[in-house]
Amino acid sequence: MSWIDIGHIEDIPLHGARVVKTPVGCVALFRTGAAEVFAADDRCPHKGGPLSEGIVHGQSVTCPLHNWVFDLNTGQAQGADEGRIGTYPVRVESGRLLIDGDAIGKRSAA
């Protein structure tokens, strides 16, 4: 894995999200806890809703357009809805956010 530094954890509000533009498209970073972040596709498989604009709760996000709920651990849609979003390895180290460059189609920028 090649970890790329994309910012500081405090750049994302608690229970909020921010977007990173990557070669594989927009990836949303969801801050589910004080020191807990998940990365997943920003695009809802239903009708393309921007998931980074959804409400983040527990380790899930709800799409702002039609309320599909995705588990950020697996990317799987919950309940009766069927669909999945891609998830990406991300780490928090000393407050810095590191995303796996290989997974988002990019070698380390360093």
């Binding site: 790329i4 994309i6 910012g7 750049d11 994302i12 509000p13 608690l14 229970h15 909020g16 921010r18 977007v19 990173v20 533009k21 990557t22 070669p23 927009c26 970073l29 806890g33 004080a34 020191a35 807990e36 972040v37 998940f38 921007p50 604009e53 959804g54 409400i55 983040v56 709760h57 527990g58 380790q59 899930s60 709800t62 702002p64 309320n67 709920v69 651990n73 697996t74 998830t87 390895p89 991300v90 780490r91 928090v92 956010l97 988002i104 990019k106 920028a109």
Partner: protein, 813 residues
């Protein structure tokens, strides 16, 4: 031959090393021990009981002068080592050189001091050693105010100790909840509550800007502008490994002195141990791993093979009465699952984090009896699949107890307490049932169980079912969502009656089953809290739907629309020019006149929003809240100014109303209109609140709607003056804000409570009307402002509109 061993630092880690060495082979080394503190080793972690007065210094000494003498350790206490020369194998103390065969650096760590102005004033103390502790005890003897900066383990122990010694203590913490590295929000909330009960003031999200005072610290200034008087300031914001000697001697140093698994540094014959080291990227701040290191180091020094491994850690807080426990990992792990248990009546919260059928983290507050059992499961990586259902109930429950709630209730002993508020036990309820109380209402009436906070309602109902069998019909109350069994009305009532003022308080006290709600309950609870506690609770943007968070309506292609306010539908050529300029500058594809008498700029890119708002602000234009569950527009007709039928200044009243009401959050959207005569050109009788002017005054109508459902308004009352009209409308808005379910428009809410009730409250009871209007005004003192200006001017908020990073740019280079 006996070798010379020099140890720098007589702390908890090196103390253990010496014990192991002497145990194994007392003749192996001739030991010289330096310590900057003018004393030998004591149990540093017991400084907190010394501070609070529960122990004396003498009781926490681990190695006395006599002990060192008896074991032939040469002590150079009160002497700093100033230099290490790895070439010559000599250390330089303040009072002279000592050569070594082997050297151990055990310098611990130094408190981190935030370099704000005034940090070096007398009266600012850190919390690390006995001298700091004595300085605090001395300061506390004079009484007065103490401000503790840092709400972590050390800061809270200092705060509790100082409070115990009679000071007036405030804790400042930068993050949203206390001890955020060890606790989650819910446990942090309970801890805060316990500290507040003992009289300690806690301020979270409080950043220190400066410490004020001429000759000594007198006050602490916060970034928010608030000033707190302080006779004593304790800085406990963290520690930094004490690595200076190693750095100067050119050893490998990252954040700490780098060591391998044998505790060797990069230089031959130099070892390091304790908080000053870094191993495999880890730093250490608790004694358990240091003791492991000490054992390994002693073995290394004696030529025995051994290797240090990093283990899971558990944290406890040594504040009497604050029972908390935290262990393992909550962060950065995929495919995990939470188990949450709350007992609001007893202030208990437990959360377990599970991954791949193994327990990887546990946080507990209020009842930590099972902490060590959970910690054992974490350390051993035990497969918990078989006990998953009952895991959270601890070891006592393992081995067959059923997870079915009904049989769990059936299994409760007769004296088990069901209703914590009123102290009602199971047998009282079952005997009430047997003597004829066969529904919840009857149980409440006869035993008072579930009649106060209501959180035991579920248990009482289960008891009814267990006792009556099929004769009891479980009522189908409509819960807010899957996170709770409570209805919206219950939640609103309990937020008021239990004075719940934060989301964490709601989740905990009302027994939410999820860590922080879901997309259904969070916006509702956020709204209820801000409506009921306008001064205490701060609106949480992360609990709002995107439009309200971004203050713009998201369009189907992901662009946004921008609708500036035009008070009462009145505009000026300058405003129109500013709107036209903004439309040009930001390539707005569509400019539309809305049904709410203003102009909509559609198709604005999200990233352009703050800049566009700043431009519009400059022309005096503010957000029209065309996106909010709050005041939208006040539509007006031209009234007496121009119309030959006009009876009153409908435009003027509309503008006044809009300026009075704008910015307020309501359960659902709120649209008003004012028509100058019953011809009703402003269509006031299909608005949430509409005013129809007549010769003798103003008719106030409520409960209209024109959407999927069309409803005409009903007449609330008629008043003679504009002032009265504004007061009635404020009171109407406020009573709706305080009582309606989230997402009920006025007409839906009226269908539940009845127009007559509202009339009683705000038409007949003029005192209540005034009180409601005053509460509305209080809330407006917080919310009557332009969110666009706030977002455009605050650089941190502004940044939220742009991507965090753009990794496609460099790829193109």
């Amino acid at each position: 031959m006996t070798q010379k061993l020099v140890i720098i630092g007589a702390g908890m880690a090196s103390g253990r090393v010496i014990e192991h060495l002497l145990d194994a082979d007392p003749s192996a080394y001739d030991i010289t021990l330096f310590n900057a503190e003018p004393r030998g080793n004591y149990n540093r972690i017991m400084l907190s009981p010394v501070l609070s007065g529960e122990k004396t210094y003498e009781e926490i000494v681990t190695h006395s002068d006599a002990w060192y003498a008896e074991h032939g350790v040469t002590c150079r206490f009160g002497e700093h080592v100033v230099k290490i020369d790895p070439e010559m194998k000599v250390v330089e103390g303040e009072n002279g050189h000592v050569p070594y065969d082997k050297l151990v650096i055990a310098t611990g760590s130094a408190p981190f001091i935030i370099p704000v102005p005034g940090h070096d004033l007398p009266g600012v103390i850190s919390y690390r050693d006995l001298d700091d502790t004595n300085a605090m005890i001395e300061a506390a003897a004079k009484g007065g105010k103490a401000v503790v900066i840092g709400g972590g383990l050390l800061g809270l122990e200092a705060a509790a100790g100082l409070k115990e010694r009679g000071m007036d203590v405030t804790v400042l913490h930068l993050m949203g909840h206390l001890m955020e590295r060890q606790l989650d929000e819910a446990a942090g909330y309970l801890l805060r509550k316990d500290l507040e009960v003992r009289g300690i003031t806690v301020k979270t999200q409080a950043a220190t800007k400066a410490i004020l005072g001429e000759d000594r610290a007198r006050a602490v200034l916060l970034e928010s502008g608030e000033t707190l008087g302080a006779d004593l300031v304790v800085m406990a914001v963290g520690i930094r490994p004490e690595t200076r000697l190693a750095t100067d001697a050119h050893l490998d140093v990252a954040r700490g002195i780098e060591v391998n698994a044998q505790m060797q540094t990069s230089a031959p014959d130099i070892y390091a141990v304790g908080e000053c080291v870094e191993f495999d990227g880890h730093l250490f701040g608790l004694v358990a791993p240091l003791y492991d290191q000490a054992k390994v180091l002693a073995d290394s020094l004696l030529g025995q093979p051994n290797a240090f491994v990093v283990k899971e850690l558990a944290t406890k807080l040594k504040v009497t009465g604050c029972d908390l426990f935290s262990a393992g990992d909550f962060a950065e792990s995929e495919t995990r699952e939470d188990i949450v248990f709350r007992d609001p009546a007893r202030g208990i919260y437990k959360r377990l984090v599970i991954e791949d059928d193994r327990l990887i983290g546990a946080v507990m507050y209020g009842d930590t009896a099972d902490g060590s059992w959970f910690f054992g499961l974490i350390k051993d990586g035990t497969d918990i699949e078989d006990m998953r259902e009952t895991l959270i109930f601890g070891p006592a429950f393992q081995g067959g107890a059923s997870a079915d709630p009904l049989s769990a209730v059936a299994a409760l002993p007769p004296e088990a307490e069901i209703c914590g508020c009123n102290g009602v036990c199971k047998s009282q309820i079952t005997s009430a049932i047997e003597s004829g109380a066969t529904d919840l209402g009857a149980i409440r009436a006869t035993t008072k169980a579930s009649a106060s906070c209501g959180t035991c309602t579920g248990l009482v109902e289960q008891l009814l079912q267990v006792t009556l069998g099929d004769d009891f019909q479980m009522p189908q109350a409509q819960p807010v969502c899957g996170c709770t069994d409570l209805s919206h009305e219950d939640v609103r009532r309990l937020i008021k009656s239990q004075e719940l003022k934060s989301q964490a308080a709601v989740w905990q006290e009302l027994g939410w089953t999820t860590p922080n709600g879901c997309h259904v309950c969070r916006p509702a609870v956020n709204y209820y809290l801000l409506a009921d506690w306008p001064l205490e609770y701060r609106d949480d943007p992360q609990s709002r739907f995107v439009n309200e968070r971004k203050h713009a309506n998201i369009q189907k292609d992901g662009t946004f629309s921008v609708v500036p306010r035009m008070w009462g539908g009145i505009t000026t050529p300058d405003e129109l020019r500013a709107i036209a300029d903004a439309a040009d500058k930001y390539d707005v594809p569509t400019v539309k006149v809305t049904g709410g008498q203003r102009i909509d700029l559609l198709g604005v890119r999200g990233e352009d929003l703050p800049a566009m708002w700043a431009d519009l602000n400059r022309a005096g234009l503010v957000s029209g809240h065309a996106y909010s569950k709050g005041l939208r527009t006040v539509k007006t007709c031209v009234g007496t100014d121009h119309c030959r039928f006009g009876t009153q200044d409908s435009t003027g009243l509309g503008i006044k109303l809009e300026k009075h009401l704008w910015g307020s959050w309501t359960p659902h959207k709120l649209k008003l209109a004012v028509s100058g005569c019953p011809r009703n050109c402003a269509e006031a009788t299909c608005k949430d609140i509409g005013v129809v002017c007549v010769d003798s005054g103003y008719e106030i109508h409520v409960g209209g709607a024109a959407g999927m459902e069309i409803k005409g308004t009903e007449l609330l009352c008629k008043v003679a003056t504009e002032e009265e009209a504004i007061e009635v409308i404020s009171a109407m808005t406020q009573i709706y804000r305080e009582n309606a379910r989230y997402l009920d428009r006025i007409y839906k809410w009226l269908a539940r409570v009845g127009l007559d009730w509202v009339k009683e409250q705000i038409v007949d009871d003029t005192e209540n009307r005034r009180a409601l209007a005053e509460r509305f005004e209080l809330s407006q003192s917080v919310y009557r402002k332009d969110p666009w200006a706030e977002h455009a001017q605050d650089s941190a908020t502004r940044a939220q509109y742009a991507p965090l990073a753009n990794l496609t740019l460099e790829a193109a280079e």
